[in-house]
Symmetry: C2
Subunit: 361 residues, 2 copies
């Protein structure tokens, strides 16, 4: 058993990525791939590691199909951190993947104490789905866990037979049954696309945060034991977009740590104005020694979301040189985020009834 147990539901920040990579057998994401894959998450070191991504890279380069799988099981509204994950999903979609974007309402319900009933989970699912559609996914890219075919549920139970209590405990420790269920659903989410009733055997890619890696280890173990000779699922590891407050992750339960996709533009503005930056104690000092974009929450909004590489580089450099001060930089950021939110929320409004129908009808 690995010495470092990563808790997929915990809020711990992983400080020492190198150590974790080594312990769990992840590989750093190769520079060659970063250059050839045309998405900011690769160029900007948001994707930092992988397991078996070679198989996927090969499919992309040779324009062959592969499975693109991501799931969202929120107990709240989506924020900009989720947008980054969805953007990456859309990148793989545009590479010609078979798309399985899971709206994981059952998982959200069974694994989260604060969701009192399935109805509540489904209401969040409506919102999450409408966001995903507004961000560019189409109906056909998406499935809803609580609206799946019988084969999917049956497969979840099939998976359960292939995991011993001992293996499970070694990976996760002792879990309540709700979390066990959520795990089984996640394994089914990642693997079911390879069943003959869906796409059949082929490589699959799932982008996850590093603390979700226990699921990948478990699902790869299960994939070997099932009687379908599946390809072992590939994974890439993305860093979290930092929260807006110093030393805090973005969190649905701490609204000021993140810009939510349904924040009113004026709320987002206030959050940006209050965000922690890499600025110095005085304007004079900052002009002289420059800012510190690496730790700056505002810079990270650009890094994770601003499409134009040159502009982001320019912001970085002029912050470093002391030319761009926090006030002006925040103004640029506010304009960018406000515009995005206005556009997004217009689309959201259009997609909400469609999402509601997809989930409740």
């Amino acid at each position: 058993m690995p010495k470092t147990r990563i808790d997929p539901w915990g809020a711990i920040e992983i400080k020492d990525y190198g150590k974790v990579f080594k312990e769990f057998g992840l590989k750093p994401f190769p520079n060659e791939y970063k250059k050839r894959l045309d998405h900011l998450a690769f160029r900007r070191n948001i994707v930092i590691a992988h397991r078996d991504f070679e198989k996927i890279y090969d499919k992309i380069i040779n324009k062959k199909p592969f499975i693109n799988m991501t799931g969202i099981a929120t107990s709240g509204y989506l924020h900009m951190g989720h947008k980054a994950v969805i953007d990456l999903f859309i990148f793989f979609k545009n590479c010609g993947a078979k798309n399985f974007f899971g709206i994981c309402d059952i998982d959200a319900y069974t694994s989260r104490k604060k969701i009192p009933d399935l109805k509540t989970a489904k209401e969040f699912a409506v919102s999450n789905l409408a966001d995903a559609l507004a961000l560019g996914l189409t109906k056909n890219d998406v499935y809803i866990q609580s609206k799946k075919e019988q084969r999917y549920y049956e497969f979840t139970f099939e998976i359960s037979k292939k995991i011993t209590g001992a293996t499970f405990q070694a990976i996760y420790g002792t879990l309540d049954l709700g979390k066990i269920s959520a795990n089984l659903l996640q394994y089914a989410d990642i693997l079911h696309g390879q069943l003959k009733e869906y796409c059949g055997k082929m490589p699959s890619i799932t982008a996850i945060a590093i603390e979700q890696d226990p699921h990948i280890r478990a699902v790869r173990d299960v994939a070997k034991r099932l009687p379908y000779s599946f390809e072992l699922p590939s994974s890439i590891y993305i860093i979290h977009q930092p929260g807006l407050k110093e030393g805090m992750k973005m969190s649905s339960s701490e609204p000021d740590t993140a810009i939510f996709l349904n924040d009113k533009p004026e709320v987002a503005k206030r959050k940006i104005l209050n965000a922690f930056t890499g600025g110095k104690d005085t304007v004079e000092e900052q002009k002289r020694t420059g800012g510190n974009p690496e730790v700056c929450k505002i810079y990270n909004i650009f890094r994770f979301h601003y499409p134009d590489d040159k502009k982001v580089e320019e912001i970085y450099k002029s912050c470093k040189s002391g030319k761009l001060l926090c006030g002006n930089c925040k103004e640029i950021c506010i304009k960018f985020v406000e515009n995005f939110l206005k556009e997004h929320q217009k689309k959201y409004k259009k997609f909400e009834p469609i999402a509601r129908k997809m989930i409740f009808d």
Copy 2:
């Protein structure tokens, strides 16, 4: 935690029923009910205990609906012991119940090591279902676990959230995930009839063997925690029809311990001729001191299956008095069983393609 842990998958014989009753809070089945409920399982002390049967008795007497739920999750073919359970199910059906006879193929697959894949489980399910239809169930009384509606599977996951790992471990010890899944499915089997999508809240009755009681304790605990204010499921406890060999339960993996519903009449004849009886060492001794029907496997075939009470009593008495010797008694039994099997297998042949369609189409 109760001191006696009953293992629902074990093959232990429960010797001291009284002790087990007391420890788990079961009540002996009242004589008044035995007299008023017109089925041999009551009159002949096959039903020995209950939890909350009062509610069901009340519904029967007042001709009000209740849920009649039983499931079969075999890893083989059905034998006469299963027939006794199905007969009892049909009794409740005829009392005006809402019927949920589950063909539990997923459960059978996930909980039994010897079933290598779902396909095999479904093949046994075809046979089990055809038997059930041949014994008098109709299509509408039956559901197949692997062909259920989305709501049923979703409900299974809902249930999982309401069980803590600690409660579960106290009842069952450490289980592999396949058995955990099987349990969740069983709880859903027992409770889902009370969902508004099915019959809505009402009492339910499930006849089980006493070693299945852990499931009933668990499902009653879960029923209280779910947000549906369910009636707590009632249960009655039936003794096993003894196996044909001395001191052995009927077992699918020991073909000579039971008469299977698909045994050729001549095979059944051989099994009966070889069965352990309550006879004495010599004919003379038996004529003088009488036989011992209580321990006799042949007498128990009559007790569990022969419809005519008077005839069974006559056999009992003339065995006791030494008038009816084992040879003659076995002849009567062979005739009865052969006739039953011939009739049954004729019907089975008719229902097999229907069952196959229900499961595989």
